[in-house]
Each structure stands twice: as structure tokens, then as C-alpha cells.
Symmetry: C2
Subunit: 171 residues, 2 copies
């Protein structure tokens, strides 16, 4: 991309440079949800139409977008901007857990839903965050793990099947 811009589209390169410079200057983290925002508190956190009693914890801004696209959640978010990964040197401080605790203890939030990925890092993060949150007396839930849409027993892996059986629920 760099070679193309330098050789064939120098005005485009200048526009890109200015846009990136402006973004670096203007885009910061929202004080409440930690997502990227141009204002101190982002539009989603300010919206009166969201359910303030529900707080969903996701790993990245991309995950928040996926949740919004799925239209399955109308509460507020907290974006960790990462997941616990000791091997990569990412500890509890790097994912702003103390800010999450303060956010969840605002007196309005009734339930914190942990929507981290179903990966080793995501599970570790969910376990660790759940312990801290429970110690503060907050109700904690975890999104379900099991068969995905279209999932056939014959074609899912043993781990998913075992999880689906373990987390079965009354109907």
C-alpha cells in the first residue's frame, strides 16, 4: 500500500497522513466504556435508550460492533481492549480491570455479562473478572458456550460437545 501511494497517488497519501494525524489527536477512550471515542463520553454511553442495568464486557471494539450487528443486547458496554495473556505479557492492569470494577459498582448496573471469546485468553479473563466482580457483590453472567447455529453433533469437536452437555439447561 505504501509503494502504491508513493508512486501513483501522492495526494491520496497526504489525505491519509492528515486523517491519521487528526485521528491520533482527536480519538481517545470513552471515560465510561473505554471504547474509542472523539468525545469524553461516547454516544452509546450517553444514549437514554440503552438499558443502564446491563453491562456487557467485550475484548475489543470489533466485538462491540458484532454485538450491535447481532441486535441481541440493549445494555451498555465495557471494552477491555485486550484479554489476559501472561505469555504475551498482558496482565490485569493492561486490560483496565480496576476501571471495570469501578464502572460496575456505579449503583445502577444489576448484571455484568462477560462476553469475552471462548478461547484460552478469553476464558481466563472471564474467570478472573468474575471473581473480582463477585467479590464486590455484582451479579455476573457468562454468554453460553455450546453448539453454534447449524451445528451437527457429527461435525463439532469433542470440546464443544462436552461443553454443550455440561451447560445443558431445563426446557
Amino acid at each position: 500500500m505504501a509503494f502504491h501511494l508513493l508512486q501513483r497517488d501522492r495526494p491520496g497519501a497526504e489525505r491519509l497522513a492528515m486523517a491519521m494525524g487528526a485521528a491520533l489527536e482527536r480519538v481517545h477512550h470513552c471515560e465510561r466504556c473505554n471504547n474509542f471515542s472523539e468525545e469524553p463520553v461516547c454516544a452509546l454511553c450517553r444514549s437514554p435508550r440503552r438499558n443502564a442495568q446491563l453491562l456487557c464486557v467485550v475484548e475489543s471494539p470489533g466485538d462491540l460492533l458484532m454485538m450491535e450487528q447481532a441486535q441481541c443486547f440493549d445494555g451498555h458496554y465495557f471494552v477491555l481492549m485486550g484479554a489476559l495473556s501472561p505469555l504475551d505479557g498482558v496482565g490485569p492492569r493492561d486490560i483496565h480491570l480496576e476501571r471495570l470494577l469501578a464502572r460496575a459498582a456505579d449503583g445502577v448496573v444489576r448484571e455484568v455479562m462477560l462476553a469475552t471469546n471462548f478461547t484460552v485468553e478469553g476464558e481466563a479473563t472471564a474467570h478472573y473478572a468474575a471473581e473480582l466482580l463477585r467479590a464486590k457483590g455484582v451479579q455476573v453472567t457468562r454468554i453460553a458456550r455450546g453448539l453454534p447455529v447449524g451445528g451437527e453433533l457429527e461435525h463439532v469437536d469433542s470440546g464443544t460437545l462436552a461443553q454443550a452437555v455440561m451447560e445443558r439447561r431445563g426446557v
Copy 2:
């Protein structure tokens, strides 16, 4: 395969023909679980090491094998040998639901776990079977549906994510 056997391996073809003939003669359905078996009651149904209070309902013998490979279930099974599919002309009678009801009402079974696929047919079958079983006073559960192992929010479909949020549970 037919051309290969006829041209290059006629003794093999004869062995295959005899084996298939013998299988057709000897293999029937187990009286209890409806799975294929050479005896009236299969080895799994006769085993004293299985938990007789748990009954898992699966669509096919292949699904039963997957459950056994995942080593996540130690109860008994019932194999429907299909799933409800009105478009294909498969109704409640074709999947032996009346036999399942009789099997579940043996006085020992405490919980019937519906492990049909997370497909349209599997879901319809689970709903229908659950209604009939509940009417008989049997406790019914459904395996969990949500994020599969390794599932990242950014890469799962909206349906799976919505299901995972809807079926979230306290931790």
C-alpha cells in the same frame, strides 16, 4: 467402487456381498435404545456401569458415537434414527417418539437430555419431543447452544451470538 471390484477384486466383491448379507440378517434395532445391535438389547443398554437415571436423545448412531468419543456423558441413549422434517415427509411416527415416551417413563429415568442437532430439523424435533415428555412429567433438558470452542465474537455468525447472549448463565 463397483467397477473396481468387478474388474480387479472379484473375491473381495464376494466377501463384501456375504458380509452385507450377514449384516442385513443379523443387525436389528436394540429394543431399548433403538440403535443398531446384533442382540435384542445392545451392550451399552446392558452395561451396569452406565447411569440409568440419565437418557440422552440423539438423531443418529453417528451422533451416539460422537457423544461416546467426547466422553462427556455416562447415561443411556435413545436413537431417533432421524429428525422431524415435514418437507421430506418425516413425521413423529418415523422417529419413534412413542417408543421414546415409553422408554422415558420406565420409572428409573430422571432426566431426558435432548441432544439433537442445532439445525431447523433438530430444533423442531427437540421442541416437539420436549412437549410430549413434559406432559408425561419427565424432566427435560437441552444441550447448550452458543459459542463453540475457539469461538471469537468477531468470527461467529449473528444467530450464534444472539443465542449465546439469550442463554447466558450466572457464574
